[in-house]
């Protein structure tokens, strides 16, 4: 049996890779993907905890996370397509004016 710490470390590493990706890249699509990666690291941890606590509520939470991320991706990509029509680039820096 693999100790829970290993799952913790794995998901932390994945999470940090995702966070690093968000920092490093400027392409909106890749930012999205990094966010998905971070969400998945959390999911992994939830499933691991569910097994270690013998409680399937955590797996239900994973469902809801998947659901929310599916909704998020659909809306996010729609926004991206719309932005792309305005300015044919996916660089996030070009949309600084959205802060207003």
């Amino acid at each position: 049996m693999i100790p829970l710490e290993h799952y913790l470390y794995l998901s932390i590493i994945l999470f940090c890779i995702g966070a690093m990706g968000v920092l490093l890249r400027r392409n909106m699509i890749i930012l999205f993907m990094c966010i998905e990666l971070m969400l998945n690291s959390a999911n992994l941890l939830l499933v691991a905890l569910s097994k270690f606590h013998s409680d399937n509520s955590a797996q239900i939470f994973v469902f809801f996370v998947m659901l929310v991320s599916a909704a998020e991706v659909s809306v996010g990509l729609a926004i991206l397509v719309m932005l792309y029509r305005n300015k044919p680039s996916t660089q996030i820096d070009l949309w600084k004016k959205l802060k207003e």
């Binding site: 966070a19 959205l98 802060k99």
Partner: protein, 638 residues
């Protein structure tokens, strides 16, 4: 849950009109008038048939009261307030009146409202009104009754302002609404007090608790009853909250007949009668009720003498008659009060519908000064109107005679001065009604054209039926001494616990004597007016408002009550509000808020510079923060 057929009927009763409302309200615009009429009248007809069924079942003794709990409405600490309906003889009588008269008025409206743009809306509102009214009389707890109470108020508001393009009609609707709200406040406070005192809103529980607690005239029960009566005053247009009812005549005439004469305004009477256990425990409140009733009856009657709008006369007459009913209740003669409710529903509906027929025929002319001589032109309406007038005046054999006589008798027994005042009121009633009749139908034609709008059968039939009922309705409650007072007998289980009157009854001789005296006096008034009406009419018609002597000017201007209300209540409130607006609101509250807002704004302006819009930096900062937190945890946590 095994329901008896009676329970199913009871449960279905109020919801048939609701269904009618839904159908007409949702799809009415697409329907033809015939369809709307069938839906509107049909739903009422069905509930009328159900009412008759329930009534017959009750008469035949298959049940004393029937109850059905539809669902738990509001769960509260101990038990829950159910959405439950109950029918006992009191409710059943009201039920018959509401559905029966309602059905007739619906039928009448099909003809009356023909061609109106809001035909469907009108019927939807009427059905909704019937629904709420049924809810009101069938409720088995105060809260549901209050729901119905508010609902009828809403429908009344909607229907008074039915022709909402007219600004003054809207004002009238608003006035009715506000006045009702003032009354509702009393009702609501009364309910709070009831819950606080007895821990329940269910009629049975409250009454049982009150009866077992006993202690007549203790402060709590007086407070409760006074508050409930305050609510009843609002709904039933008693002093001091009566001024909305005459204004409510802005609505279509069938509405006036149904809501503002036959049913809704009697909700106050119903409430008092329903809570007779409480009221009987508070003789002080009863004397207040009596005083208010007598005062209203007399005051409204005097105002009615000088009105020139056909509907206004009838409106003040209604207020006056409601005063009679309250007077009866105030003496503890609940049955007499209810009897008058029933007969009044018949003849006042008849009178209003008759007036409506006149108005309809004369192309919406409502001013009595422009009528006259219609006796030959509209013979059917005239006959109808005559029956109504005789009934309200208390001519023997007509229904009004029996009911009013019973009231007078009871009041006489109780309080002679009150009787005297009511007696004068009865004479005044006769006088203004014959004045109305004379101005509209007798004499010569004044300023109206001959092309009358014809009446169709749907309008005539209800009038005929109501005329018959106004004539014969009184036989339900023949005087006590005959031993044939069916209504009294029928309602006795409800009022079995009324123990206020243990004084001996008047002897038959005194009763007959009083009756004869009243009748003679009334007949005298009629003879006096009939013989001299031409003179009286010409004098009245030629006299302008300004020329009247003060004792006539005062009632003619409704004792300036509206003006006094305006000066004493509305204007001070306006001024206070104005002051509060200028000083408290603008300077203090707004100032504070604006100052704070300004501070936030300037702070935000400074902080805004931090937001470069570069997501990378945001994220980096966020990440650094998270790292810092974890670092803190590592350093401190271990």
């Amino acid at each position: 849950m095994n329901l008896t057929f009676a329970q199913i009927a009871l449960a279905a009763l109020p919801f048939l009109p609701l269904a009618g409302f839904a159908v007409n309200g949702l799809w009415g615009r697409r329907f033809k008038e015939t369809t709307i009429g069938i839906v509107g009248c049909g739903s009422i007809l069905l509930s009328f048939l159900l009412s008759v069924f329930l009534f017959m079942a009750n008469l035949s003794g298959s049940f004393a009261t029937v109850q059905v709990r539809l669902f738990d409405w509001i769960p509260v600490a101990n038990g829950s307030i159910g959405f439950s309906l109950m029918a006992d003889p009191l409710s059943l009588i009201m039920l018959l009146v509401i559905t029966g008269v309602g059905l007739l008025i619906h039928l009448y409206s099909v003809g009356y409202m023909h061609g109106d743009a809001g035909f469907a809306r009108f019927f939807a509102y009427l059905n909704l009104f019937i629904f709420f009214m049924l809810l009101l009389v069938l409720a088995d707890n105060f809260l549901l009754l209050f729901a119905g109470w508010e609902g009828v108020g809403l429908c009344s508001f909607l229907l008074i302002g039915f022709w909402f393009t007219n600004e003054s009609y809207n004002a009238a609707a608003k006035k009715a609404f506000v006045m009702n709200r003032i009354g509702d406040l009393g009702f609501l406070l009364g309910m709070f007090l009831i819950v606080f005192t007895y821990g329940s809103l269910n009629f049975d529980q409250v009454f049982t608790a009150a009866a077992t607690a006993g202690g007549a005239n203790n402060a709590t029960i007086i407070a409760i009853t006074l508050l409930l009566f305050w609510g009843a005053c609002g709904k039933s247009a008693q002093i001091p909250l009566y001024t909305w009812l005459p204004d409510a005549m802005a609505g279509p005439t069938p509405v006036s007949a149904l809501i503002h004469a036959a049913t809704m305004v009697t909700a106050g009477i119903y409430l008092v009668a329903r809570c007779h256990v409480l009221f009987s425990l508070a003789p002080f409140t009863l004397s207040v009720v009596l005083a208010v009733g007598v005062a209203t009856a007399l005051l409204a009657a005097t105002i009615a003498l000088f009105q020139t709008d056909i509907k206004k006369v009838l409106a003040y007459s209604t207020v006056s008659q409601l005063g009679y009913m309250f007077a009866a209740l105030g003496t503890g003669a609940y049955v007499a009060g209810l009897f008058h409710v029933v007969t009044h529903a018949f003849f006042k509906a008849l009178l209003f519908l008759g007036a409506g027929a006149v108005i309809h025929a004369l192309h919406h002319e409502q001013d009595l000064r422009n009528m006259g001589g219609l006796r030959t032109e509209l013979p059917f309406v005239y006959r109808i109107f005559l029956v109504g007038t005789l009934a309200i005046s208390g001519i023997p054999v007509f229904s009004g005679f029996f009911s009013k006589d019973e009231i007078l008798m009871n009041v006489f027994q109780h309080h002679t001065v009150a009787w005297g005042l009511l007696f004068i009121g009865a004479l005044l009633t006769t006088f203004y009604m014959f004045r109305l009749l004379a101005l509209a139908f007798w004499g010569e034609k004044r300023g109206h054209h001959a092309n009358y709008v014809p009446m169709n059968t749907t309008m005539k039939l209800p009038l005929a039926v109501l005329a018959f009922l106004s004539f014969a309705g009184g036989f339900a409650g023949l005087p006590e001494f005959t031993g044939l007072n069916w209504l009294h007998h029928y309602l006795s289980p409800v009022f079995s616990d009324v123990t206020l009157h243990n004084e001996p009854h008047l002897s038959i001789g005194v009763e007959l004597g009083l009756m004869a005296f009243t009748v003679l006096a009334i007949a005298g008034v009629i003879w006096f007016y009939a013989s001299r009406f031409k003179h009286l009419q010409t004098r009245e018609l030629n006299q302008l408002n300004g020329e009247l002597p003060w004792y006539k000017k005062l009632p003619a201007n409704k004792y300036y009550v509206d003006e006094w209300y305006n000066r004493l209540l509305v204007q001070p409130i306006n001024r206070l509000s104005d002051f509060l607006y200028r000083v408290a609101d603008t300077l203090i509250i707004d100032g504070l808020v604006n100052r704070i807002g300004g501070m936030v704004l300037s702070a935000g302006n400074r902080a805004r510079k931090l937001q470069s819009g570069d997501i990378g930096i945001y994220l980096y900062v966020m990440l650094a923060g998270a790292s810092g937190l974890f670092l803190l945890y590592v350093l401190l946590g271990s």
